[in-house]
Symmetry: D2
């Protein structure tokens, strides 16, 4: 399975759009995360993705708390994962989360889990929609919280 599939972008980069926001979190595979074969059980990757996504949220002002305070929710509507190489007990790896520019009222995030040699172990994406906490209705128009994020993004504030 090793080289079965190459890294790719899941979301199209629109021409002229700001560069994606990229964050990285480094961590280790714990004993409770591996299965009978000593590799991370496939269903535990959403935990890794979320650790990257939370870091993106802190950087871009899109954390759970930010949504909550704006009367919004951002439920996951789609999740996809490509398993390319296993991650093993004790292995150190990097979670790279990538927020991709999108004009609509949704949040598109790509994830790349990198081994220490830089190769991709796992990649995937999530799509989040925005809903009003009070009614549960999907936001058709981007709410102010998202607009504020985009203004800063265009101004280059999330790229160091």
């Amino acid at each position: 399975m090793e080289n079965r599939r190459r890294a790719k972008n899941y979301f199209k980069r629109a021409e002229g759009a700001p560069e994606p926001v990229v964050v990285e979190v480094k961590r280790r595979v714990h004993f409770n995360e591996v299965d009978l074969l000593g590799i991370v059980w496939h269903g535990r990757y959403p935990v890794f993705f979320e650790e990257g996504s939370e870091e993106l949220g802190r950087v871009c002002g899109l954390s759970y708390k930010d949504f909550y305070e704006s009367g919004l929710r951002a439920p996951i509507a789609q999740l996809y994962i490509d398993y390319l190489k296993p991650l093993c007990l004790g292995e150190v790896f990097t979670i790279r989360a990538v927020l991709v520019w999108d004009e609509s009222s949704r949040i598109n995030t790509e994830y790349y889990l990198l081994k220490e040699d830089g190769s991709i172990a796992t990649s995937g994406y999530t799509v989040q929609v925005l809903t009003a906490a009070a009614t549960g209705e999907v936001c058709i128009i981007s709410p102010p919280l998202l607009e504020r994020c985009r203004t800063k993004w265009k101004a280059g504030e999330f790229h160091s």
Copy 2:
């Protein structure tokens, strides 16, 4: 988000192929599975999918133990999930797992989580490839274990 998307088949049904094998498991949402909003956290659905997949394995002779005894592994290569309606604390739901006929050396499974009113809360799929335990090489030709399963399948042994 309620009626955003309708149930669909993820894998094409080849003409003349045997009907998919379908199993169902009924269970309840536990306290430790819900998040701050009282709904199942999105990353816990692979646990539900696996409960369905394990039941399929018992019915079709494709359990972890069956693979192990044949010197095979069946790692997940792809996972996809569509979140349509939330599942709430204490809610009773049905996990429907559907094994779809495929001539190649892989295992394609669809999952449908059904609320008590019969509507679909969540759907998705996994793709498993077969590998030799000894070498880690992907099986290009379907191994005997899979052939035996298909023979019974064609004979209608998995449809009651």
Copy 3:
């Protein structure tokens, strides 16, 4: 480790007190619950205990929903587990949860996980205190919800 320790009661049975309420839930060990050795990872047992505890709550009117509707919370204050025999992948076992009579404003539950031969794989207990949801204060006096439960308990309504 097999016969290292015998089953015992963790909470004293007060003389003249009603018999404990006992419920049982049967289930199987799933692939995602075992570790590198093929046995349930020690940290997953609280999930099993909770499945028993939730069943007790449904029988005795002490579910999360019951507490919530009474403006109460019942946080876990102590957890203890004795690991006697491992539970293995695919193994069928029974979760026995035992609510022990206590005059004070707390909930004492014992857990016994039974193998199919009836022997005890794991045992343990939890202590829950009752708090007011509004203030977070511990209830010194047993709230009406608990008193109603005790009245039914004494009347034998939870013993079939």
Copy 4:
């Protein structure tokens, strides 16, 4: 519940024994770890304890890999947890794991989860016994791996 119980040592410190080995790991509470009340679900603390225990293992030469290579296993025989104060979504806390000297063939570890103000949110302990991987028999006499660890411990190698 806030100040209900003070920090204490779970294992007795024998007179003249080397000081305990102490390690600390700092991390944050993730969204998938909190329950309906926004606090860490009680059953997720063994994950935190294990993160501390793994760090101790790396420092003291008692990791899973070390045991494996010595033909040993170190299963958890007992787990105890005192829940003193909740840990909340996004909160940063420190896992302090403390290996306490014991002459017998077991591993006694205490855990203290510290809030940023230094107060103890949760404390507890685990007892591990040593078994021979080949036979499953409990080691009555301390195996060489444990003796090597103790020699370094007495020599002060684990205290910086």
